[in-house]
């Protein structure tokens, strides 16, 4: 099988749970992406889950090999391609089910990426255009007010009217095939269509393989943000898909602010999300007190880290890590925290700093709490914040601290 990935990293864009057993090999070369490091991945899949993988790549004239076996550990070698990789650069041990092992799994596991962009609907609900008799458009006050789609046999596929916050779609036998529920505060929005259903001309999605089909796509309205979102602006959409014959629910998802949330059912398989991040079932249902706060802060991906911070709670992290508050900028919702790094020795390698400084920030749009690690030399929130934006006096800094006082944002979202 040959897989082609576009618009994304080489490990994305394919869905491995459909491959129950076997190996997947992914090769990257410069003909696909001139910027990419040439290399390859070899995944071993057992019972629909990646059990282990090997990743080889070349970067800056060095050759690397990474071996990961979930529940066992990770080894990273560096060397010369000609003589194979002999130098062990890093060895990480982790127990199965710990956050760090999930992190490794998450970063490299291709399954985690396919569902992120909300294609749940697109793959499952189709209406045959050849069976559609007509589509009535409603207008009023010079604007579009809705439409009704009727099959040739007179059955109504759906009727959508301006302002509706839920919609049932039937097949040509009158059987329910999908239910969409959207909740949004429309006050002040320039485009208040809460649901944009099938074949609204500007939103139909043609099936590449069968031009007579168009897919149902329910999505959040675009371009209708407020400049200062309130809690009530958090946009929620829920989609349920039924098997027409049995009326059994085969897929169900909930999106908040375009991020998948909670337990997601897709083709009878369950997946688990926090703020758009796919995590394992074990992690999803784990009690916050069972998760190691130090591990949470070490998760490299900021979005994954923020999701676990949400699960564990920032206050609990501050308490468990014995963080001390250096500065609290209440006006802008920033905090600069200091955490003493324990030297455990042995298995866990902690290099360099004995202190970790963390800038706690709150996303202005989603209100999600993020943490960013900053150098231990910064002493104020402003200094820490500016450092993350590239202001400093080292040679690689984008903006010179000696020339730039601070950054003031014309707009920040």
């Amino acid at each position: 099988m040959k897989l082609t990935a576009s618009h994304c990293g080489c490990s994305k864009n394919f869905w491995h749970p459909s491959i129950k057993e076997g190996r997947i090999e992914v090769n990257v070369d410069k003909t696909y992406n001139a910027d990419a490091d040439a290399g390859s991945w070899n995944y071993t899949i057992v019972d629909g889950t990646v059990e282990k993988y090997t990743h080889q790549w070349e970067s800056n004239n060095k050759w690397y090999e990474e071996h990961v076996e979930y529940g066992v550990g990770r080894k990273l070698y560096e060397g010369n391609r000609q003589y194979s990789c002999e130098t062990l650069v890093e060895e990480t041990k982790y127990r199965k089910g710990t956050i760090m092992s999930i992190q490794q799994h998450y970063e490299k596991e291709p399954a985690a990426t396919n569902m992120q962009t909300g294609e749940l609907m697109g793959k499952q609900v189709v209406i045959h255009t050849t069976r559609v008799k007509n589509k009535e458009q409603y207008y009023g006050d010079g604007t579009w007010k809705g439409h009704k789609v009727v099959y040739e046999n007179g059955q109504v596929a759906y009727e959508y009217k301006y302002g509706n916050k839920q919609l049932t779609i039937n097949d040509d036998q009158g059987r329910r095939i999908a239910f969409i529920k959207g909740i949004i505060d429309t006050d002040g929005l320039s485009d208040s269509r809460t649901i944009i259903p099938v074949n609204a001309g500007w939103n139909q999605v043609w099936d590449k393989d069968d031009p007579e089909l168009f897919r149902l796509r329910a999505r959040m309205p675009k371009n209708n943000w407020r400049s200062t979102p309130e809690a009530s602006d958090i946009r929620v959409i829920e989609v349920t898909i039924y098997d027409a014959e049995t009326q059994r629910v085969t897929s169900r998802m909930r999106k908040e602010n375009n991020q998948l949330q909670g337990e997601v059912l897709r083709n009878d398989k369950y997946f688990h999300y926090i703020n758009g991040v796919a995590i394992s079932k074990e992690m999803f249902y784990a009690k916050p007190e069972d998760l190691d706060c130090n591990e949470v802060l070490k998760i490299p991906n900021a979005q994954v880290r923020a999701s676990f911070i949400k699960k564990v709670g920032i206050n609990r992290i501050v308490d468990q890590c014995k963080a001390t508050l250096i500065e609290d900028d209440k006006e802008n919702d920033y905090q600069l925290l200091s955490i003493q790094m324990p030297h455990k020795g042995g298995e866990e390698r902690i290099a360099g700093d004995t202190e970790m400084r963390i800038l706690k920030v709150v996303c202005t749009t989603t209100k999600q709490v993020y943490t960013l690690r900053v150098p231990p030399t910064v002493n104020t929130v402003r200094e820490a914040r500016d450092w993350t934006f590239g202001i400093g006096d080292n040679w690689q800094d984008v903006l010179r601290k000696s020339e730039i006082e601070t950054l003031e944002f014309t707009k920040e979202t």
Binding site: A302, W387, I404, L407
Partner: protein, 112 residues
């Protein structure tokens, strides 16, 4: 020297910061940069959502995908993302900065 320091007006969408190009590090050379036709500044590893420009020309350093600048000849263009409000960017040459994070081994760019 203190008086010569400037407050820079710029834009921010998540981990993406847009600042006037002429105020950035003067040593940076951009002659070998290549056009990035899709206008996508960054794609989230976890979410799959991306920061995308509606127009202008995005240039990227072939040796460092995080080193970009934007040439906008239009009145305004829009930077969009599924989870953030869109931002209108005026005409001009802009430096694209990815927010960074400290590590005692090597600083990294914020990934979402």
């Amino acid at each position: 020297m203190e008086n010569s320091k400037r407050k820079m007006c710029c834009f921010r969408q998540g981990e993406i910061i847009i600042v006037p190009r002429d105020l950035t590090n003067k040593n940076s050379r951009t002659t070998n940069y290549i056009k990035k036709g899709d206008g996508i500044i960054r794609e989230g590893e976890a979410s799959g959502h991306f920061h995308k420009l509606s127009g202008g020309t995005l240039y990227v350093n072939p040796r460092d995908e995080n080193d970009m600048w934007l040439d906008n000849q239009l009145e305004t263009i829009e930077l969009t993302h599924d989870e953030h409000a869109p931002i209108k960017i005026p005409k001009g040459a802009w430096k694209v900065i990815i927010q960074r994070e400290y590590s005692d081994e090597m600083n990294t760019y914020v990934r979402d």
